[in-house]
């Protein structure tokens, strides 16, 4: 056998060099961290995705959070109870490019290198999942904006996670089931995508309906990557449904509505979840005529809530967030802003600067906080219970469409046009 000891030596030398590189890298990020973590500032660490599958949703959320920080700083900072003074807010953000593995490392980076005061998660369950683990492990308070995976809040009491927007998907669709029962639909078709978010909704609705004696005539899952809906639509049509619920991500919803449009298929009732969140994307990609009479969940800014006791009301937010272009504001901008408000409330009532002290600030305001998303209320696992999600229907409005709340009747503090559901939907 040949002997080549020189290889090891050179190999080890290269390894040492590489570790040296690591050291340089960390020195670089230490600089970055010290630049951010100046005395007299509260640092909020977050991630965003400028590319990849979640970029569409992640970027507006990030913009909302940045807007909140700008707002706070323009008023001389936010009040930090344990310090008894106002502090400026600094956001430290990294780009995870929609990759959960990168996100894991970057969340760790925020805690271990940048020593941020609190963490705000990136959009959605997939990119939030790694943060949940790190928050638990490192006992770091995490503000979860929209990551409502069923597994995040079930493992007993966890004081380190707070969901700031949207109830978890298992309770969220209750109004939909009630509306279907009220409309006396008998034959309900449910097509959902196989991911945590949509699957949980589908199962919840199925449960609510079954309790009322309605068994869905079609209940099928498809891969989230599904883009060809033609055969599926034909299958659904064959069941002759009174109502069709398509529960997917924005791309699925758009592909589904486009398929209905392209084949001229008409159902009496169609619901897609993301129309309410991203109306302008649907206008652009599907077109107003085809969207008309579709049902969806009503969320801000469609749902206008101005009766608030922290931050801006919805109308003011829209005006200041996108001056002159109110139509470009979407729900995720609001959600990002709302996460900032939760952070703000936590610090304003924190009992100490420790992570649990900051969490105690949330407990202090739980159920009392009125934001532009409604009542902020979490349980002891951090699950959001408070915010409203009525069902809305798109109705023709000028060249485009307007979303009108059809169920339940709007609460008093919500300034919103109520309407009776147009059922069955008129043919377009």
């Amino acid at each position: 056998m040949a002997h080549r000891p020189y290889r090891i030596t050179t190999g080890l030398a290269a390894l040492v060099l590489a570790l040296g590189g690591l050291a340089t890298l960390s020195a670089g990020s230490a600089d970055a961290a010290s630049a951010h973590a100046k005395a007299g500032t509260i640092t909020v660490g977050t991630l965003y995705a400028s590319t990849g599958a979640y970029a569409t949703s992640s970027m507006p959320e990030y913009a909302g959070l940045q807007f909140w920080a700008k707002q706070v700083d323009s008023h001389g900072g936010m009040y930090v109870a344990p310090l008894r003074r106002k502090e400026k807010v600094k956001i430290v953000a990294y780009n995870d490019q929609s990759d959960p593995a990168t996100a894991t490392s970057l969340y760790d980076q925020l805690i271990s290198q940048n020593h941020v005061n609190v963490l705000v998660a990136d959009f959605g369950s997939v990119l939030t999942a790694p943060a949940i683990t790190i928050a638990k492990d490192q006992k770091q308070l995490l503000f979860d904006v929209t990551g409502s995976g069923t597994s995040f809040f079930t493992s007993g009491s966890n004081p380190y996670v707070v969901l700031t927007s949207l109830p978890v998907s298992a309770v969220w669709p209750k109004p939909v089931a009630k509306l279907l029962i009220q409309l006396k639909t008998k034959r309900v078709a449910i097509l959902y995508c196989q991911n945590d978010f949509d699957q949980a909704q589908a199962t919840a609705i199925q449960g609510f309906l079954k309790a009322a004696g309605i068994t869905p005539v079609y209940f099928q899952g498809v891969p989230t990557t599904q883009s060809d809906y033609s055969t599926l639509v034909q299958s659904i049509k064959a069941t002759n449904p009174d109502a069709v619920l398509e529960l997917g991500y924005p791309n699925n919803d758009i592909a589904f509505l486009n398929e209905l449009k392209a084949t001229g298929t008409h159902f009496k009732f169609v619901l897609t979840p993301f129309l309410g969140q991203l109306p302008s994307l649907f206008t652009q990609d599907v077109g107003a005529p085809a969207v008309n009479y579709t049902y969806t969940y009503a969320v801000p800014p469609t749902l206008v809530i101005n009766h608030v006791n922290i931050g801006l009301g919805l109308t003011a937010f829209v005006r200041q967030f996108a001056p002159g272009k109110p139509s470009t504001v979407n729900f995720l901008d609001v959600a990002g802003y709302n996460a900032g408000l939760a952070v703000q409330a936590a610090f304003a009532h924190a009992t100490s600067m420790s992570q649990l002290g900051i969490r105690a600030g949330i407990t202090a305001v739980n159920g009392k906080l009125q934001t532009l998303e409604g009542t902020f209320k979490v349980d002891n696992t951090g699950e959001q219970l408070g915010e409203l999600l009525p069902v809305a229907q798109a109705v023709p409005h000028g060249k485009g469409f307007a979303l009108k709340i059809v169920y339940p009747a709007t609460p008093a503090q919500v300034k919103m046009v109520n309407a009776k559901a147009k059922y069955p939907a008129p043919t377009k």
Partner: protein, 292 residues
Amino acid sequence: MQLFEYAIVNGVLFGLFYGFIGIGLNLLFGVMRLVNLAHGDLVVFGGYLGYSLAVDAHINSLWAIPLSIPAALVFGFLVYHATVPRLRRAVDTETASLIVFFGISQVLEALMTMIYGANQVTLPSPGGPVSLFGQDYPASVVISAALSVPALALLYLYLYRTRIGLATRAVMADEDEAVASGVRVRRVAVWAFMIGVAFATTAGTLTAFMLGGINPTTGSGLTITAFTVIIIGSLGNPLGTVVGGLLVGLASSLSLTQAYATEWTAVVPYVLLLVVVLVRPSGLFGATVRRA
């Protein structure tokens, strides 16, 4: 029964499109044993070109098909000369090409994100539903399938009715003998490369129609679909690719009609691929068996 017929027609429409996606990839593999992992990204790049025309220039996005061809040829020419001569000298061309084209696919994805952003974009539908055999199909799907047919026919004419096409087939069948017969392999290879790239970009606009929209990461999935199609139809056999495409299209479409199978649709092509390579490792139309 109506649903079954619908699924068959739909499967054929998609199958033709899959054949179109796969064929450029197969040309590259057949002639040069190159595993082009950037194929799907080239397809998506073509789709974005169509999008630019529709949204920025306000002309029909189908114009992207003729307009992208010269650009694709130039791009193919440049990439060929930058990479292929070195790859051909590598000890293991297949593996080396796989890595190089993975890198190129990363670069393309980055460029697309920089230029067009990360959002999904869709193209305006080319028209209302089209009636075939008494049922309505989306115009975008029918038009895409209809355009795939002449594209495939053009490649057939290139291979079977032109001198360089004959030389291309000679190289695919037996490179040594082709060289010994005076065929200029480099010229054949450059053209095959450029045409392969052009096929990818021209399929792009159709992809935006077929898939409902595109984003910069759509490409990697398309690459895998394309490989599945060409392996089923045999690597290096362009006509087999069309059959492979039809098989994948039909199987996927039919699985969507079965209640228990809808959630397994995405697996269908992979299972098909595994069955084909294990039962007949050379693919359905392969001449040479490639076993270790």
